[in-house]
Amino acid sequence: MATENQLQVTLVTPERILFDTTAASVDLPSRTGRIEVLPGHAPLMAELGAGDVSLQGSTLETTRWNVSWGFVEVLPNRVTILANDAVAPAAIDVAAARQQLEHAHRLWNEAGDDAEAYEAANHVLEEAQARLSSAETPVS
């Protein structure tokens, strides 16, 4: 269980719980920007964007995960991340991500005046970009 200046961090995807561990702090992408959570954070409920979740001071082997879309609940000593998709950077299929990026650009061009299609294209685009940048970041 988390001690006083530790966070209990859980990453849950629709298919399974990826990890449930303790960490000193968590860095995560919200829809509107990155958030760093330290123990004692005010209760927060936010939408998750596309990008990397990274843990500091945890015992996990992989401390950085690429996530896309979902929700995060922050309580003073607990962070629960519900991600629609999560992969370890090493497991990212770069070729597939490139293809997705191209596909996104195509969608973007085809969207025209349709706000809904535009939104959807942006969604795909952001996800592909986050994947690629995550795969290219060297393992620290």
Binding site: M45, A46, E47, F71, E73, L82, N84
Partner: protein, 361 residues
């Protein structure tokens, strides 16, 4: 009277059939175990989404007090005139009454929708084939028009309804490799149809599977969302006592627990997600949070139904193949008995011929 050689051939053929059914039973048992684990692993996410949604819905009014509009179109309740029915069956046969039960429940549901237009989204080859044969596939007209912005040509597909009940959509291979991404796309498509008022309600027929002895075929309402977090069951058929007992015996032989795994502790933890008795800072306004949460919720519900249905299919196949193996063994026994009798009769006949021949000399 059949001769010994024919009987021997028949016994050999039944034996090889028994080998196949036995192998199928073993494969199904292994697949069932995996499917069960997968269904279980998918629960934490689904429950957390459901609990945060329920909590959010308690905190905010469904109607925006400033504008009087609904917070989200999925909460809109319209008179049910057009219904989308999602039928989840299996891809393959040899699973006892599994597919038949699903189709029976679907037909019962369709019989209730007397004057409503129904679109059927059939998942699993068995349901798709039967429904297509019976009701036909939805047709679309291709309409060409010009893009008003720059005059470039645009093609639209316009639905032309020929009969009251039609099959839309095709999802080959969805069950074989159950993947959340694909399920989510399907959920988003259903939501799109609902928000554009192409459908007024969405129901799912599937085989609920808590464990081998806790199964039923249910018809559940997915949309409109009235009380998130609770299942709205409009029709259910339970297993019969004999089916349950037989399934339990077979499962025990295969080393599968007939009881559902105890998840009460994990369930309780999941129920706390987003429901703490504190004032959350919501980073986004509630309406925006709902926009993200509702598709996830619908996708999780659909994924849950699919995962349970896959587990149920394997369980049904395991039981059916065990029964087939037993029947084959019985058949082999009786054929062997008959063959021995025939052989004995032939020997006796020959002896009588020899003896009477000798006596005539």
């Amino acid at each position: 009277m059949a001769n010994v050689l024919d009987l021997r051939r028949r016994i050999r053929s039944v034996k090889s059939t028994r080998q196949i059914t036995r192998a199928m039973k073993m494969v199904s048992a292994a697949k069932l175990r995996r499917a069960q684990d997968r269904a279980l692993a998918a629960r934490p996410y689904a429950q957390r989404i459901a609990s945060v949604l329920a909590s959010l819905k308690r905190r905010i009014e469904v109607l925006d007090p400033n504008t009087g509009n609904l917070r989200h179109p999925l909460f809109a309740v319209r008179p049910e005139k057009r219904i989308l029915l999602v039928i989840i069956s299996g891809d393959k046969g040899f699973a006892g009454a599994f597919n038949t039960n699903i189709l029976k429940a679907s037909h019962q549901f369709l019989a209730l929708c007397e004057d409503k237009e129904v679109d059927i989204e059939a998942i699993g080859r068995k349901a798709r084939d039967q429904m297509r044969r019976r009701y036909g596939v939805a047709t679309h007209d291709v309409v060409q028009s010009e893009n008003p912005a720059d005059g470039s040509p645009l093609t639209h597909h316009v639905r032309r309804r020929k009969s009251r009940i039609e099959v839309v959509g095709d999802h080959p291979g969805l069950l074989e490799k159950l993947n959340h991404r694909v399920v989510r796309e399907l959920a988003e498509e259903i939501i799109r149809r609902y928000t554009h008022a192409e459908i007024d309600a969405c129901y799912v027929v599937y085989n609920e599977f808590k464990s081998v002895i806790q199964q039923r075929v249910v018809t559940e309402r997915l949309l409109p969302l009235i009380e998130p977090g609770s299942h709205v069951i409009v029709g259910a058929t339970e297993q019969t006592a004999e089916e349950r007992q037989y399934a339990a015996t077979v499962a025990a032989e295969a080393g599968i627990s007939p009881f559902a795994e105890d998840t009460s502790e994990a369930d309780e933890e999941a129920a706390h997600f987003g429901t703490s008795d504190v004032d959350y800072i919501y980073e986004q306004p509630a309406t925006e949070l709902l926009n993200g949460l509702l598709p996830s919720y619908v996708a999780a519900m659909l994924f849950h139904s699919l995962a349970e249905s896959v587990a149920a299919e394997h369980a049904a196949r395991m039981t059916a193949m065990d029964a087939a193996t037993n029947n084959a063994s019985e058949m082999i026994d009786s054929l062997t008995l008959y063959m021995n009798r025939v052989r004995q009769a032939a020997i006796t006949k020959e002896i009588i011929e020899i003896v009477s021949g000798a006596a005539a000399l």
